[in-house]
């Protein structure tokens, strides 16, 4: 059975309208979007004479006048459909703080026109389920957060416990003891998400600062049981990962264009970083470095 419904990976770009502040400051628009061609063109305002604008092509492009519903129907709907069929899907929102990731992913829940990817996905899933005739569905939700290499279960009562990433030979990577809740309708799954969001903001003095440094993953597992022509029950399980990535401005630039970023030459004052310094010296495959990699991957 073909595992690929359409394209396996889609990259989509969305540009937000200028904020009042930006307009008031007389900010120049350096971005041009061609929806038909799926291209974004960047013009460097400080360009040297003769420097050309740079153009990037995506699977789809949404400009400042784009509607939440358009984005959902064209780009997200097919993905949710395939999750309901038993495939896995992941949606990442990537961008610097302030570029509108939260608007795109969450939107304004109360306003049907301004609802984002997440509320629309919930609606989509449960509407599909309510219309189904011969199938039984079970929907579970989990919510976890990754902050400074530690994993937190946002739905757990005991918040002091940090979760571990483990590997199972048959089922691959999993988070040990991650709690999940069965949700029977949109309201219940919304409630679960709100619970997690509340937990997320607890313990940080500056929410914007915090959320710009942590990644959150909301996982919806949809199990579908159907009695086949052979009289047997066939079960399909699809997983949807909704990832809210940390502000990309925090990520260090690797490689670059020959010039080493200044950050990399900073001297670490504390001896607690001695381990990192030593690890960086080892450049061989036939060695073992006793430090863990980033859990995000």
């Amino acid at each position: 059975m073909s595992r690929v419904l359409g394209e396996a990976l889609k990259v989509v770009a969305r540009c937000r309208p200028m904020s009042r502040k930006e307009e008031a400051a007389g900010s120049e628009r350096i971005l041009a979007m061609d929806v038909k061609l799926g291209q974004v063109t960047l013009q460097n305002p400080k360009a040297a004479p003769g420097e050309l604008a740079k153009t990037f092509t995506f699977d789809a492009v949404y400009d400042a006048s784009s509607k939440q519903a358009d984005l959902y129907d064209e780009t997200v709907r097919p993905l949710i459909d395939s999750v309901l069929q038993g495939f896995n899907g992941t949606i990442f929102a990537y961008g610097q703080t302030g570029t509108g990731k939260t608007y795109t992913m969450q939107g304004v829940w109360a306003d049907p026109e301004k609802r984002g990817v997440i509320p629309n996905s919930f609606e989509h899933i449960f509407t599909h389920i309510s219309r189904s005739q011969n199938q039984q569905y079970l929907v579970r939700a989990s919510y976890l957060e990754i902050y400074q290499e530690e994993i937190r279960d946002l739905l757990a009562k005991d918040q002091s416990k940090k979760l571990e990433v483990k590997e199972n030979p048959e089922t691959g990577v999993y988070i040990k003891d991650l709690s999940s809740f069965v949700t029977k309708n949109v309201k219940e799954i919304e409630h679960v998400m709100n619970l997690g969001n509340q937990t997320r903001s607890v313990g940080s003095t500056n929410m914007n600062e915090y959320s710009s440094r942590s990644h959150a993953i909301f996982v919806i597992t949809v199990e579908c049981s159907e009695t086949g022509l052979d009289g047997e029950d066939h079960i399909r399980v699809g997983k949807l990962n909704l990832v809210d990535l940390a502000g990309s401005e925090r990520q260090s630039k690797q490689g670059g264009q020959g010039e080493r970023p200044k950050e990399a030459s900073k001297i670490n004052l504390s001896l607690s970083a001695l381990g990192n310094v030593i690890s960086a010296l080892v450049d061989g495959k036939s060695t073992h470095i006793p430090y863990r990699d980033s859990k995000l991957t």
Partner: protein, 490 residues
């Protein structure tokens, strides 16, 4: 003077940091190196601990005791060395950076105070650096020290009495990580020795062996003692414990089977230790890497073993440890590891088959048992090479037109080995033999054709390509001859 030195010591430290933050790493280097020189000069000329800068602002009674002053002074110097290590690292002077890291670790034991687990892990990591430089004496010293210091962690009562389950688990994990560093030590030592001893067909060269043994007798003590003193960790009581650990394994290249076996056994012990924590269910990737190391230990030990039957048994051990893991892995989630295992299993069966053929050649006649064995091993090797090649197919089951760089050579080697294996199958059935030769020819042809279409691939498989071209030339003729023999009436 004493008061001056401390100020003049700390100022370059701070200036060094400031300049590094401004990205002027070379300037930082200058300041820090001057701090270093200052310290060395001062300690040579004076030796009494200088005044701490803050003391200038203190009343007479509040001034520090000599011991405390000394402590702070030494701590500042340790930091100077630590900052220099980072500067050298940024300037890509890796050897110097390592030297300074080493000295920092040394000084932590002597002056600064340290967290045993953290110190042990750092020493174990540094040992891995020394491995990449073939400095086995230094590597062993770091690892032995890591063992000794780590054991201090277990003894001291923890600051918080409620040491959790998590802490215990962390401790066990760290110990297992250090064990894995030891495994790499043993493996690298053996593999480096192999490189020195092998001839151009990968067998142990007895002349080289005698040469190296003679050389070893000569070089010994003096040189070693000098090097050793430079890197020695710790106070006298630590020294003894570290020495005791060091004496359990050699740091010299093993030059014969006995010596190799001793290193192998130490490595195997650490494998068992590491496996206890990194169990398959829970730590798939780590567990498999440990088993792959264990397999590599057997592989390199086999090199030192003269007797073919015993060699074969060692390779059999490899298959026995790799196959069960392979069977349980879901390739959907562990594609890279699955491919590695397929390839290693294929190579191991291939090796075993070659050994059986060599053993068979020494006999007067090949008996049916040996023939069966050879064929079975050949077929198993083919099976795993085919599985590996299958894993490269796209979702529509089509073999890629152009192979990615990272799989190019293994894929070509797999094709080449399959071709050769079909050539090795023993059968009395002429028709079957023709079929085998035909299959062989097809695989050799694949290699030649691919390299014609993709000339950039040639450099990855030069030797194999040459042999393939030869076979593509020879095989059709041989097949004709065989056909003629089988049907003498046409």
């Amino acid at each position: 003077s004493e008061s001056e030195i401390e100020l003049r010591g700390k100022v370059p430290n701070n200036l060094g940091i400031l300049w590094s933050e401004r990205g002027e790493i070379k300037t930082a280097q200058t300041f820090l190196e001057s701090a270093e020189t200052l310290y060395n000069q001062y300690m040579k000329e004076n030796g009494n601990p200088p005044l701490d800068p803050n003391e200038h602002f203190m009343a007479e009674e509040e001034k520090l005791k000599d011991q405390e002053r000394s402590k702070r002074f030494e701590k500042a110097y340790t930091h100077t060395l630590y900052y220099l290590a980072q500067v050298y690292q940024h300037l890509e002077m890796i050897e110097k950076a390592a030297e300074y890291c080493h000295t920092t670790l040394k000084r932590q034991l002597e002056y600064s105070g340290y967290y045993p687990v953290e110190w042990a892990l750092n020493a174990a990591t540094l040992s891995q650096y020394y491995l990449t430089k073939q400095c086995f004496m230094e590597s062993r010293h770091c690892l032995a020290a890591a063992n000794v210091i780590f054991s201090q962690a277990g003894q001291a009562p923890s600051a918080e009495d409620n040491e959790t389950e998590q802490d215990q688990q962390d401790l066990r994990q760290r110990k297992a990580e250090i064990a894995r560093c030891w495994i790499k030590y043993c493996l690298t030592l053996l593999q480096s020795a192999r490189k020195l001893l092998e001839d151009n067909i990968g067998e142990l060269d007895p002349d080289r062996q005698s040469e190296l043994k003679a050389q070893r007798k000569k070089e010994e003590d003096e040189k070693e003692k000098g090097r050793k003193k430079a890197v020695l960790f710790g106070t006298s009581d630590l020294c003894d414990s570290i020495l005791a650990t060091e004496e359990k394994v050699s740091c010299l290249y093993p030059l014969d089977f006995q010596e190799a076996r001793e290193v192998f056994l130490v490595g195997q012990n650490y494998v068992n230790e590491a496996k206890e924590f990194f169990q398959f269910d829970g730590y798939v990737t780590d567990h498999i890497e440990i088993i792959q190391d264990h397999s590599a230990l057997f592989k390199v030990l086999a090199f030192f073993e003269e007797d073919y039957e015993r060699r074969c048994k060692m390779h059999k051990r490899r298959v026995d440890m790799l196959e069960p893991m392979y069977v349980d892995l879901n390739p959907q989630y562990y594609l890279l590891i699955t491919r590695q295992l397929q390839f290693e299993l294929a190579d191991t069966y291939y090796e075993m088959m070659d050994l059986k053929v060599a053993i068979g050649n020494r006999l007067e006649e090949l008996d049916s048992h040996t023939i069966k064995k050879i064929n079975s091993l050949a077929q198993l090797a083919v099976k795993y090479y085919e599985l590996f090649l299958d894993s490269l197919r796209n979702p529509d089951r089509i073999f890629p037109e152009k192979l990615e760089d990272d799989v190019l050579r293994p894929a070509m080697v797999a094709k080449f080995h399959i071709a050769r294996l079909y050539g090795k199958l023993i059968t009395s059935d002429g028709k079957k033999q023709l079929e085998n030769m035909q299959t062989s020819l097809e695989y050799y042809t694949f290699l030649v054709d691919y390299c014609e279409k993709h000339p950039e691939a040639v450099q990855a498989i030069e030797t194999e390509l040459e042999l393939s071209k030869e076979m593509v030339g020879l095989l059709p003729t041989r097949m004709e001859r065989l056909r003629a023999k089988l049907s003498p009436f046409t």
